[in-house]
């Protein structure tokens, strides 16, 4: 990829509390906001790529309703069932391959349930484990994350108290006033993890507009260049990587992204990181996998913490939006930030991670 695509517009709905809009209404609202932010119209769009995972939204073949709402009507289009970070890679490829000048990429997580979000996601996750293990074992994302966290304790990598300290520090980044005792006092969801040690996805839709460098120069607000992107997919039941090294997919994604961005020493090249951790026990392994040593604590997840701001399949673009916001407010031309996300429909099993290196224009 020689000329890197440019992100020229962002629109969001949430991530926050559920509202009463239908999935296509929320998709339309975010897409319309992104097009407006970019200063382009629907007719400028060459391809629309939607990311969502149907079972977690209580949908089936949802592209039938989200694609037209995502500016995908009478344009090139398709949907990926993965985190929107994957869709962003695909959108960038559409532009870099000269197949499109303007691409819309939309991440959708809009669960049909308005009850206990964690319970609904756990039920959906349990169903999703069946193709992984060829039978219903009662596993879910949370129970698999609990197994990993327990291993961290058993092997001496950390303690439950240290996890609580880390979770409280992460929560304070999003304005919560909690201490480690509060974290430990929360309901246990899968020992040693309490409810305050895992991320819970809020509903959200995030849309971004990408443009070729040439087209971006004609727009009012080119924001960041997608300098390098990488994708890594984690191991499944065929091996034990999910258990012993669940951050491996992030490490592979980071290596690919830095290579494509021609970054040899990420520690000296990256100014801030927005990343997603599904459990507090994965925070340090994921940080290590990103290979950015020496970054001050306040530059790690300055937006909403690693456990906060998760929005299911919309998380990847939500992190990109947070990173762009940080570059807007604190960066200068040439400053670089990393946005990382992974999807965890089955916890660390077969999780797809993406790393995007963003450079302020």
């Amino acid at each position: 990829m020689t000329e890197r695509p440019v992100l020229v517009g962002i629109g969001t709905v949430g991530p926050d509390a559920f509202d009463d809009r239908a999935i296509d209404e929320a998709t339309f609202a975010a897409t319309r906001a992104a097009l407006h932010d970019a200063g382009v119209s629907k007719s400028d769009v060459d391809i629309s790529i939607v990311a969502s995972i149907d079972v977690f939204d209580g949908q089936s073949m949802s592209n039938g309703i989200t694609t037209p709402a995502a500016a995908g009507w009478l344009t090139g289009e398709y949907r990926v069932e993965a985190d929107s970070g994957i869709a962003l890679v695909a959108g960038a490829a559409a532009i870099a391959s000269n197949s499109a000048e303007v691409a819309v990429v939309v991440g959708v997580h809009w669960p049909a349930s308005v009850g206990d979000a964690l319970q609904f996601a756990t039920d959906a996750s349990s169903v999703s484990f069946e193709p992984a293990v060829e039978r219903a074992l009662g596993l879910s994302a949370v129970s698999a994350l609990g197994l990993h966290a327990a291993r961290q304790i058993v092997t001496g990598s950390t303690t439950r108290d240290e996890m609580a300290v880390a979770a409280a520090r992460d929560a304070r980044k999003r304005g919560a006033s909690v201490d480690p005792a509060d974290i430990l006092a929360a309901d246990t969801v899968a020992w040693p993890l309490t409810r305050a040690m895992v991320s819970v996805a809020d509903a959200g839709v995030v849309a971004v507009v990408l443009a070729s460098p040439m087209r971006a120069r004609m727009l009012r607000c080119p924001r960041v260049r997608l300098l390098g992107q990488g994708v890594g997919t984690g191991g499944s039941s065929m091996n034990d990587e999910w258990f012993h090294d669940p951050a491996a997919s992030t490490r592979r994604a980071a290596e690919a992204a830095y290579r494509r961005a021609s970054i040899a020493t990420p520690s000296t090249s990256i100014a801030a990181v927005e990343m997603t951790a599904p459990s507090i026990a994965l925070l340090e392994p994921l940080r290590t996998a990103l290979m950015i040593e020496g970054l001050p604590e306040e530059r790690w997840n300055p937006g909403r913490g690693a456990l906060g701001g998760a929005a299911g399949a919309a998380s990847g673009l939500a992190r990109v939006a947070d990173a762009v916001r940080w570059l807007d407010e604190h960066g200068e031309t040439g400053s670089r930030a990393v946005a990382h996300a992974a999807d965890y429909p089955t916890g660390p099993f077969a999780s797809s991670a993406t790393v995007h290196v963003l450079e302020r224009i």
Binding site: M1, T2, I53, D54, V55, Q59, S60, M61, S62, N63, G64, I65, T67, P68, G72, W73, L74, T75, G76, E77, Y78, R79, V80, E81, A82, A90, A92, A93, A94, A96, S97, N98, S99, A124, V127, S128, E130, P131, A132, E134, Q229, G230, V231, G232, T233, G234, G235, S236, S237, M238, E241, A248, S249, R252, A253, A256, P345, T346, A350, S352
Partner: protein, 390 residues
Amino acid sequence: MRRAAIAGVGMTESVAAHRQTYSRAELCAAATHAALEHAGASAGSIEAVVIGQIDGLEPTSVGGRHIAQQLGIGPVPVFVVSCGGATGASLPLVANHLIASGDYESVLCVGPPTFDGVIDFQRTLNAVYAAFDPPLAMGAVHYGAVMVANYQLRYGLDDEDIAQVVVKAHHHAAANPYAHLRNPVSVADVLATPMVATPLRVGTVCPVSSSAAALLLTTTAQARELRNPVVQVSAIESMADSGKPGGRRDFSALDNLALLARRVYSKAGIADPLSDLDVIEMFSPYAPFELMQYEALGLCAPGEGASFLRTGATMAGGGLPVNPSGGPLCGNAGVAAELAPFGYVALQLMGQAASFQVADARRGAAHSMGSNWFMCQAFGVLDLDNGTAE
């Protein structure tokens, strides 16, 4: 500009879904390794997998990512695509973008079977379609019947015209070792089958099948180092309309496909598809759709699909064979059958056709479509390498 090429094709034999004895992962692994062997490539050369799934239609969810883990090719990036019946043909579209972008050299497309494990498929479809239309107990076959009935009413098509499409499909499939239904049938046989949704009969709709398909796409340069004649992806696009009945002016025409085909032809430099193309494989799960597709692709004028068929042009040995594999009327395993048209056309251009070989085939087109009211279309043109592309 860098172009992707199809370097290898792998497919498994199609059987009735309820009689399948292999798991979906086993079938996909078999297709994958058949594609690698066909290309003369190693598993280690694959840099990414693009795999399809249709959550809701399948008895599992997020199955694609787990199947990808069981192909035996290591921890490579996985892109899971899901857009109804257009999923299969969208896989080479995504692979083409990844390769032409310069970030990937070699991408495997995998079309798993979609219907394995489903006991009452029509009931499943009815429930799935109720998610985005009012729960009227309508499924894909009912949408198709509405469209075909409109087509029949407008152009005076009779049931024998529809049955002729099936007769042609079975004649072609009889020579295809991957097809599910390989028995020759007559017009009378087809018309004797029970009605499903007027005017569609059991004999004019696709079977519920199980098989897997895989394509190895690489850069053109890399494909030239491999085993087969190089088949380039000259143009491939997708497109959706609103998916709402109110968004269609005319149910008797596949306007969304017609618009998409014009775009693809323009990119591929095709002025007259009837003379410029040598072979076509379409996703036509209901027999009359093939006639409507002739018209959408510009092979004949609106309403002349049946008379065009009767000329014999689309038969094996005709001027422009359509679905010489038999098409989905003789085997529809979901995503696998939506990807298969690209595999069948690639094999034709390589001179290694699975069924009837089209003489001196150098350029072909492939397609799939689906989602509610068949709103999503994906269509591409493949060319035998002329040695000029990157």
